[in-house]
Symmetry: C2
Subunit: 364 residues, 2 copies
């Protein structure tokens, strides 16, 4: 299978790292051992993924001091409290600064494990082994780690780059359909925010992706990782353009927090959020109604929500959006579209148009 592997480099000087993409990577002992050389290894996974892939990973790692912790599945586990038993296990087992943390799971596990690695003994090495499409194309790459606070998503965390990302496309075979669609939301995001050519490709390949055709998935994961790697390399700490990756997220995070984490999946919430961004952009006259409809239709074809929950309302939305990390001096900043494939971060939008968008009002 070696011929079918793809390698994307995240160029960050002495913190550069490879993203390995291919089928059967979890069985590739040489790759796993090269990526995880430490003698003490803490694997953080969840109760859904561990029964499927933990044994294979352990086999590939071979003789080591391996400790594994499996958290319950779900966004509600992504909190400070979930980190305590992991720290405890590492200390009980005498893990030193030269240990490695391995995240085996989706975005929740990757973000939490990364934050454990960022803060255990002031920082240890870690490796991401994403098992969902969403984690492969987005959350496992770029070093954003953290947990949620009841008052806002990802409010506590750190920038901490992994040593490597290993995306084994074969594990997508066991991914539930709803999770696959949620991951496609982040895929569409890359197209809308800055890759018009990819948008054209997606229009013709949504069905192939949802049918899990290997070539389509491989192309998607590589394309998204290349997009993300370029943006992260240019702006690691989000001083500027990295914020574009937040297209749909200001609205989406508010939906997630307001509904209680785990009700809407992250990808579902940002799908609705991207449609809202497209609608507000159209109301501003920055994109045409036809362009707006093209974006919304694509998201609808994936099987994702295209409008916010009807009972949320503009006031509650604003309350949660006021905590967004992009805000400066209390001013709400949004990622909007100047064109399809051309996003901007801006506070220059019409307040009444925003309110209408938050209320989910039609504008035909």
């Amino acid at each position: 299978m070696k011929h079918d592997r793809r390698l994307v480099e995240v160029a960050l000087g002495n913190r550069s790292y490879p993203i390995h993409i291919g089928r059967g990577l979890l069985q590739d002992a040489a790759l796993i051992r090269e990526s995880v050389p430490a003698r003490q290894v803490m694997i953080i996974s969840n109760e859904t993924v561990a029964p499927l892939y933990l044994a294979a990973l352990k086999t590939a790692l071979g003789e080591r001091r391996i400790t594994a912790v499996s958290l319950p599945d779900g966004e509600q586990e992504k909190c400070l409290e979930s980190m305590l038993p992991v720290f405890d296990e590492m200390l009980v087992n005498g893990f030193g600064r030269d240990c490695q943390v391995v995240a085996l799971g989706g975005g929740v596990i990757g973000d939490l494990a990364g934050f454990v690695a960022a803060t255990y003994q002031r920082g240890v090495n870690f490796v991401q082994i994403p098992t969902t499409l969403l984690a492969m194309v987005d959350s496992s790459v770029g070093g954003k780690t953290g947990v949620n606070h009841p008052r806002g998503k990802n409010m506590i965390g750190a920038f901490h780059q992994p040593r490597a990302v290993i995306a084994d496309l074969e594990v997508l075979g066991t991914l539930p359909d709803r999770e696959l669609r949620a991951g496609m939301a982040e895929v569409v995001k890359y197209a809308l925010l800055g890759d018009r050519e990819f948008l054209d490709w997606l229009d013709g390949h949504v069905d192939a992706a949802l049918a899990r055709e290997p070539d389509a998935l491989a192309f998607i994961v590589e394309r998204c990782c290349r997009n993300k790697a370029a943006i992260v390399a240019a702006d690691e700490r989000e001083a500027g353009q990295r914020a574009l990756l937040n297209l749909g997220h200001t609205f989406g995070h508010a939906i997630e927090a307001a509904r209680g984490y785990g009700d809407w999946l992250h990808g579902e919430a940002i799908a609705a959020g991207m449609c809202m961004a497209a609608c507000l952009s159209a109301r501003q006259g920055w994109i045409s109604r036809e362009e707006r409809d093209r974006a919304v239709d694509l998201i609808g074809r994936v099987g994702l929500p295209t409008s916010p929950p009807t009972d949320l309302g503009a006031e509650r939305f604003r309350e949660f959006m006021a905590r967004d990390k992009k805000n400066r001096d209390g001013e709400l900043r949004l990622v909007l579209l100047r064109g399809l494939g051309d996003a901007v971060v801006t506070a220059d939008y019409d307040e009444a148009a925003l309110t209408a968008t938050l209320e989910g009002e039609a504008d035909d």
Copy 2:
């Protein structure tokens, strides 16, 4: 008073920052405002320090959105749980990534506030205003932040440099005697680990320091900060020589953790730890008994413990020391003395000599 100010620079490229040392700095609105330009400011202090100095700091800051949190005093507060109400307060008040955190207190407050700043929204700016001698000469400088875990000291944390350190020597006037002596432990540490000339000076000025003579305190704070700044600039993330700053700390942290945080002060525990390091070094034949006695006598003259708690025992000591962050591959590494003013990090010591030292056995 301006003529009597001292400025030490911590040279870390684009993360370089000044340490301002002098009397009355808390009343210097220009300095405070230059160091804390943010419009949203979270001041973290404790219930002992806040009543004395919080009002002055707020006056100097002037018109801002200022929120202050006062934790109970003591090492037992330095834990993850204490951070939660701080995060909550910041989120309730809509603090963005452009806010600043100010630590107004001793080492516990500085370490915890720094870790809050390191992790709130993945990192915000912070300023250290140390109010104890220990914090001025050691913990406020260098960017080590973090909290304790029941199983070990400073086990959860991050490297996060402050924007500035403001050491107002006048606040040492209200420092309890026991705290002043504890701070002197870190002062003696710099002399023993690498500054023989300072050791000679200290021999002649211990009494002046304990009497809080302004010139002696100013000299001490500046000298220690210069020592620490040089070491941190050369080795920010403790890949090598920065570990020398841990002289006495491997033993000391074990004493603190074993006795429960807050029983022995940190400075008291590392005072005993430094005497143990000197004893083991003498047992190894690396320093003479006369040199050992000189170090132990100096620590005794400060009024600090010169031997470990008698009831701890080698076995419990080793249990806690096994979690030390300097360990590699499970091997216990210690900071010992090759000479007075010449420390090394080494795993090359005699096990029986270590056991005798842990048991507090005499060796005359």
